[in-house]
Symmetry: C2
Subunit: 196 residues, 2 copies
């Protein structure tokens, strides 16, 4: 299924964006199966037909949201760790930025998790590409003596697992959590381990 052409006019770009945000809200809240294209255009306050100018199907707009989440997460985390003096500080800053991003865009988090069942190739590609870049950074940091030596790929997946699960438990399920406290506690374990 071909993705329809990206709009060239300012108005077109704005309308496409409006539909994307409506899809984020609608699919994030109702889930992929329950959310219809009519629900999305109603939320976007556009005619049903307008959807098809920009997207070929619900699957198409969904894939776009998964891609967007990937770019946004990377952007947010990369920006947060830019000023970190070393990799450990970067881990802490990255975890905090990720949890704050989940709080700001809970629907995008749910959409990526639902992708596992709707578009499993997009889901795998999303996390595999993220993990690959992450492992390179961990590997370089270990080579520079900033981290204890170890398998950077396993570490990348383990750290992503921590971030995803804390995001679900302490942000999506409970928006009253003290994110700073969660980050402090998780980071203490990541830095020093559980051994007494």
């Amino acid at each position: 299924m071909a993705t329809n052409a990206y709009p060239r006019t300012k108005r077109g770009i704005a309308r496409r964006e409006q539909i994307l945000r409506a899809a984020e809200a609608t699919i994030g809240e109702q889930g992929f199966s329950a959310a219809s294209i009519a629900d999305i255009t109603r939320q976007a306050k556009t005619a049903l037909g307008t959807f098809y100018i920009y997207f070929s199907s619900k699957e198409d707009v969904f894939r776009e949201l998964v891609l967007e989440m990937g770019q946004l997460t990377r952007g947010v985390v990369t920006e947060a760790v830019t000023d970190a003096p070393n990799r450990l500080d970067a881990e802490r800053a990255g975890l905090k930025a990720f949890l704050r991003f989940v709080a700001a865009r809970p629907s995008l988090y749910r959409i990526v998790e639902e992708a596992r069942f709707i578009d499993s190739e997009a889901y795998k590609a999303y996390f595999t590409s993220f993990a690959k870049a992450y492992a390179v950074q961990l590997s370089e940091a270990a080579a520079a003596g900033e981290l204890r030596p170890g398998d950077a790929e396993v570490r990348a997946w383990a750290l992503m697992g921590i971030a995803k699960t804390l995001g679900e438990r302490y942000v999506l399920w409970d928006d009253t959590s003290d994110i700073d406290h969660i980050v402090d506690e998780a980071f203490a374990m990541i830095r020093d381990g559980l051994a007494p």
Copy 2:
């Protein structure tokens, strides 16, 4: 929706079990929405009507599978850690047992993850109850000096996140992984942290 009565005869118990295993295979492979009750009974080699003797709906059999996964995972992990001389060794043994269980029952793992979208209350209940019991053990171990002090609940969720994510990446997606190596590397991080 009421769950139908649990069978009393040997034959009834065996048929119910046959349908459950067929539901595990069918829903685990096709996903909840795509898998029909007809697919399940075909796989179970029983008549369509037989399904309704034991379960009231597809949601009902699904909920039963999520509950079952909870009991099985706890059983497998509890048994694996029984002989561990201390909590750190228990963490290693529990992680290894969990990954081996995912390898043995990949469909059950997928079903629990899909529960997030099909029956989110069952999903939350599953992980919250697991985390609660886990946190008690971590808390007692820290009090006994077997672990560095810290927030046991945050640790429980972080450790569950590691196990879930490694299970997906290194077991579900790639059944050629060296599970012992994955456990060694993840456990080294859990025990000693990443600080050099």
